[in-house]
Structures are given as C-alpha cells and as structure tokens.
C-alpha cells in the first residue's frame, strides 16, 4: 500500500463525498417516497427545502469530481514512477484487478452526475417541477454506483503492491495480450476506422434530420467506437509508432497533453448527444444541445483525423 500525499488527498475527499452523498441519498429516498407537488402539508414544505440541499450536494460533488478525476490521472502517472514496469498510468491501472473497472466506473459516474444536473436544471424551470420524483429516484440508483466507485478506489489503492511487477502499456495494448484487447485488434483497422467514420456520418445525418433518439443512440455507440479506434489506430499516429497503443501516454507532457483535449471533446460531444435524447426540454434548449454536441463531436473527429493525415503528408506513407 502506498500512502503518498496524493492518494491520501483523494481518499480524504472521497470520505467527504461519501458522507455528503449519503445525506443526499437519505433525502432522495424521502423525497422519492413522499413528494406530492399538490400537497400543502408541512411535510411537503420540508421536502421542498430538502430538495435544495440534495441538489446542492450533487452539484458540489460533481464540481469537485471533475478536477479530481484529472488529479487522479496525474496521481496514476506519479505512482507509475515508483511501480516497477509501469511507464505511464496504464501500468498502474493494470496493476490490480480493480484498476480497469474503477476507471470505467469513474467515467460512467461522470456521465451520470452530469446528466443528473442537466435533469435538475430542467426540472426547476417548471412550476410544478415535474421531474422531481424521477430525478431523485435516479439518484438513488446512481448513489450505489457512486459509493461503489469510492469503495473500489480505496481497495485499488490499498491493493497496489510495490513489490509486484506490472506490465507497461506496450504489453497491455498489444495484439498478443490475452484479453479482449487481442480480439479487438483482430478485427483489423480498416473495419474499425470505417465503422468510426460511418458512425460519425450517422450522427451528422440524425443531427440534420433532428431525430432525437436515433441521435442519442448514435452518440452512445460513438463513445465505444471512438475509444476503440483511438487505441488501435489514431493513437499510433499521435505517437508516430505503430505499436504504441496506450490510451494514457498522450496525457503526458511529451505529447503536449493533447490527451486531455481529446477526451474532453469526446465527453462533451457525446454527453450533450445523450442529453438531447434523454432529457425533455423545450425546443430552444434542445437545439442548443444538438449544436453543442455536434460541434464537439465534429471537432473531435477533425482533431483525430488530422494526425494520420499530417503524418501522411509529412512522410508519404501510412504507418
């Protein structure tokens, strides 16, 4: 177990999140069970007040979670220096059984919290607050995922063994790896990249046709295919090395931290894409969500495409 100050900080903040999250959870349960917008009872008035507290807590957690996530990545990088074999965050994530699940869970939770906040903002615009029960019910479910993440994070940091050797991204992301990674690589770049651009075309199509649900679904798929192609294809052009598939290394200074930009664009584009489908709102807002989503997704595609194109222009060949 490493107890560096960074890890300690993350654990302390997690403790605070857990504490406040539980408060929000208790309130959510109460509100979910007893909320009655038409009642004029004392209970209802109390619930109204409590819903503000719950909302404030969720906003607070999310506001800290985002920079903390970045900090988490920095921390992984820092730990990789003391963990034999790890050269970037990927090695640290892979050092325990929990690392990968934790990472995916963290990202899912980011989407969930962001979604809750958008739902909440929409809810309070209406006099009868129509989505209150829905949003608190949703939070009840989200809470378990959230606590799961905190517990998992604690376990993961506790389980990192300094004595044990870990693999570097070179082995984790190679086609010879024993896991699902290998199967993905087996599909072949041409197919994967084609799916990627096809998906983007679908997004564009549904954007212009303004088909909400199809647009959202296309965005959901886009998350998956983007990350896959990023690892198998586009990443190699960022590194200019056909065997370097690491999803973490371009977060480092060697690559001008471009990784952060890439992931930010992807998150924002797909998140707003999901919002158009899954949040009921007025036409003006919906249009705004469409535009934001499409803009970020397009920027993402352009940014990623530039790497292989520029490489080809500079060198005359593909990798």
């Amino acid at each position: 177990m490493i107890l560096s100050p960074e890890i300690l900080t993350i654990l302390i903040l997690n403790a605070i999140f857990a504490l406040f999250g539980t408060v929000a959870f208790v309130l959510s349960v109460r509100i979910f069970l007893k909320w009655d917008a038409n009642a004029t009872t004392k209970t209802q008035y109390a619930l109204e007040k409590q819903s503000y507290l719950a909302a404030t807590i969720v906003k607070y957690i999310f506001a800290i979670k985002v920079p903390l996530f970045l900090f988490f990545i920095f921390t992984l990088d820092k730990i990789s220096n003391v963990l034999t074999g790890a050269m970037c965050g990927a090695g640290v994530v892979d050092a325990t059984d929990y690392g990968n699940y934790l990472f995916v869970l963290k990202i899912i939770n980011l989407y969930i919290f962001a979604y809750w906040i958008v739902l909440h903002n929409e809810d309070v615009k209406h006099e009868n607050q129509p989505y209150t029960k829905l949003k608190f019910g949703f939070f009840i479910v989200a809470f378990f995922l959230f606590i799961g993440e905190i517990i998992l994070e604690g376990i993961m940091f506790g389980a990192i063994d300094l004595e044990e050797m870990v693999s570097c991204c070179g082995t984790i992301y190679s086609s010879s790896a024993g896991s699902y990674m290998a199967q993905i690589f087996a599909i072949g770049n041409t197919t994967l990249v084609s799916i990627f651009y096809l998906n983007y075309l679908l997004i564009t199509l549904f954007f212009f046709l303004k088909r909400r649900y199809l647009y959202s679904v296309a965005n959901l798929l886009f998350i998956v295919i983007s990350i896959v192609t990023l690892i198998t294809f586009f990443g190699t052009y960022i590194y200019e090395l056909p065997s370097h598939h690491c999803a973490f290394c371009y977060l480092q200074s060697d690559y001008y931290y471009v990784g952060y930009l890439i992931y930010a664009l992807l998150f924002l584009g797909t998140f707003y894409g999901l919002v158009t489908g899954f949040i009921e709102t007025d036409a003006k807002n919906r249009l705004r969500n469409y535009k934001i989503s499409f803009a970020f997704n397009t920027l993402y595609v352009i940014l990623l495409s530039l790497y292989p194109i520029i490489f080809y222009i500079k060198n005359g060949v593909w990798l």
Binding site: P5, E6, L13, I16, Y52, I57, K78, V124
Partner: protein, 392 residues
C-alpha cells in the same frame, strides 16, 4: 444575461463578508495558516528530495566496509585488487577518513585523507588536490565551518590533533576551500592519507572503506552482490540503498506529519461548520429581506457559495504565498529541523527553489473543497429560512 458570471452577486458577497468582518477575518487567518503550514511542508519535502537526489548523485556508487562484531572496522587495502578484478568495475579506491572530536568546540570534524597521485573518487576532492599542495610538511585544507571553529578557539595557523596514544600532531593550515565544492564541506578537513592514518593510528595496509565506481550504473546492484560474495564479512552499500534509507526516514516523517494534519483539518471542519451555523439575528434578518424582495433560495445559496469560495480561495492563495516566503526566503526556521535530522547533511545547506504545479493542486484539494463542504449545510439552512417569520 451579460455573462455567466454574476458580478453583482460577487460584489454583494464581498460586501456581506466585510459586514461580518471579525468573524471572517478569523476564518481567513486560521485557514491561511493551515494552508501555509501544509504548503510549507510540501515545499520543504520537495526541496529536500531534490537536494537528496543531487547529493546521491555525488555519493560513491558502492561503498565496501569491513564488519567485525557487528561494527564497522578497518578494511585491508589489498581487497582493492580483488574488487578491481571484477568485470564491470571501472575503479576502486581505498578511502582513509574518520571523525575527529575537537574537544574545545565540542564538534566532530571529518578528516579526509587524499593521495596526490591517485585519481580522486570525487570531483570536489580532485579540485582541492589540484589547487593545494600537500607536501612533506603536514598541512591541511579545511572547510569554512572548521576555520570558524578553529578561530573561535584561538587556533589560527595550525591545529594540534590528539592521537589515540595521547601524543599530539601538529598540522598546519594550508588553505580553506570555498563553500561551493560540496554539501558536506563545512566540517571537512582534507590532508594527506599518511597524516590521517597517523592521527587515527591506522596501519599502512588499512583503510576506512573502499569506494567502487562501476562503468555501467545499471549494473551497480549486480556488482555489489559479487563483491559481497567475495567478502562475506563485508558490508556493501550501494547509492541506491542510501537513497532509499534517507527516503524512508523522510517519508515516515512526512507521513506522521500528514496524519497530524488530518486531525487539524477535521477540527477546522468542525469549527467552520459551527461558525457558519451560528447566525446572528442580524444575518437572519438580512436573508429574510433578500427573500422578501425576490431572491430565490438558489440565489441565496449561490451568494453564500460565492462567499465561501472567496474566503477559501483567498486564504489558499495567501497561504501558498506565505509558505513560499517562509520556506525559500526565510529558509523555514524550526520546521525544517523536523525533516533534516541526518548527521551527514549539515543544516546550513540552502533549500533550493522547486516549483511544482502538482503540489499547488494538492494543497488546493486538501483545503478549498473541505472548507466549501463545511459551509454547505449551514448555507442551506440560512437560504431556506422562512422569510415570513424573520421579518416580523
């Protein structure tokens, strides 16, 4: 809407803070002190780590000592040849040195013996050997700390060393080397190996230890184990071992400190919560008025949040800057003693200025979010007060 940031609200928040001046000044001061303390600790540890790393660079790669009865004992000089025969060893030198207790001042001097015709194992020594002349007449070159000690005890041009048998050896002062040569130069006296041997009553075949230089730094640990095999009763220390042992003591101290800090933080949390909850009727009235003239609960919450943010960020920035001043300008009196407890590292070295963005983030995460968290519930309580009852 102009921009997303409501400057009117920020202005109001600042005003509200100033209206509760004494309470808020107290909070800001406490918070600044906490952040300053925390930042100082991190700055000091960062600087020492850096200093440590650079020092370790200068340390010999492998030191071989002879052990007898669990204690360090003189080693035989002919072991040098054995070691030189190992593949990968580029150089092995027998060192003659020791600690001499200067009774008058109650301090220890480090006596380092040099042989003019040998390649020195340390560059700083090479410089000294080049610039000064150790001739047949015993003379020595000393560090500034030694010179000071000597002068304080009225020894100006020579020093009388007391040998183990009680007799004295007079060694003339040949020169003083400047402080830039080494970290440890302060209490060091350089003289010929012969003189050192004489003062410590060591035979010609004895040496204090042997330092080994390895051609390929990656092979240090392998060669160290080979040396150990050849000399089972020897203690073989690599520079990595030294670094790790310093680091461990160091990390241990940081860990203890951090644990204490958490307790302080918790106390702080409780104090803030309490302070924020204790609303004067004045404050309650103000909030009541705001709601009566049309502020929503969210608006009041936002304003309270701005208040927390302003206080905590302000205190954070102040704390970080005070710490910078405290550590790098004042050189962290008192505090650095906690971390610098090694006899080898003399206290007069200067903490180098290391700027680390991650440290800033670390301190930020350990302070601002915690303060804001402490104010969430009290702010909410205020914001949801029934305006009706307050205005009566």
């Amino acid at each position: 809407m102009k921009s997303k940031i409501n400057f009117y609200l920020i202005e109001y928040a600042i005003n509200a803070l100033l209206r509760q001046r004494s309470k808020n000044i107290f909070i800001v001061v406490v918070f600044t002190l906490l952040t300053a303390l925390l930042s100082s600790i991190f700055y000091i540890t960062n600087s020492i780590k850096y200093e440590l790393d650079s020092t370790v660079e200068a340390l010999p790669q492998i030191i071989v000592q002879n052990m007898k009865a669990g204690r360090h004992y003189d080693i035989n000089v002919d072991r040098v040849d054995d070691i030189l025969s190992i593949n990968g060893v580029s150089d092995a030198t027998a060192r003659v040195w020791g600690y001499y207790y200067f009774e008058h001042a109650g301090v220890y001097f480090t006596l380092v013996g040099v042989d003019q015709f040998e390649t020195q194992y340390k560059e700083s020594l090479a410089k000294i050997v080049k610039s000064f002349d150790f001739d047949a007449n015993s003379s020595m070159v000393v560090g500034q700390g030694v010179q000071r000690s000597m002068e304080q005890n009225y020894y100006k041009e020579y020093l009388n060393f007391v040998k183990p048998d009680g007799s004295m050896k007079r060694v003339a002062l040949g020169g003083v080397f400047d402080a830039q040569t080494t970290l440890e130069s302060n209490d060091v006296i350089v003289m010929s190996k012969e003189d050192v041997r004489e003062i410590f009553d060591m035979s010609q075949e004895s040496a204090t230890d042997i330092v080994v230089t390895v051609a390929n730094p990656e092979e240090i640990s392998t060669i160290a184990s080979k040396i150990k095999l050849l000399n089972p009763n020897a203690r073989v220390i690599t520079n990595e071992d030294l670094r790790v042992s310093y680091q461990n003591i160091f990390n241990y101290k940081s860990g203890v400190f951090l644990a204490l800090f958490i307790i302080a933080l918790f106390t702080f949390f409780v104090i803030i919560y309490d302070k924020a909850s204790g609303l004067s009727s004045e404050e309650k009235r103000e909030i009541g008025i705001l709601k009566a003239i049309g502020w929503r609960v969210e608006d009041v919450l936002k304003e309270k949040f701005y208040e927390s943010a302003i206080v905590s960020v302000f205190a954070y920035v102040m704390g970080v800057m005070f710490a910078l001043f405290f550590v790098y300008v004042l050189q962290a009196p008192l505090l650095r003693e906690i971390f610098v407890g090694f006899s080898d590292l003399k206290p007069t070295f200067e903490l180098p200025f290391i700027f680390d963005v991650q440290t800033l983030f670390l301190v930020f995460f350990l302070s601002v979010p915690i303060y804001v968290a402490a104010t969430i519930i009290p702010s909410w309580r205020v914001a949801t007060l029934d305006a009706d009852e307050v205005i009566r």
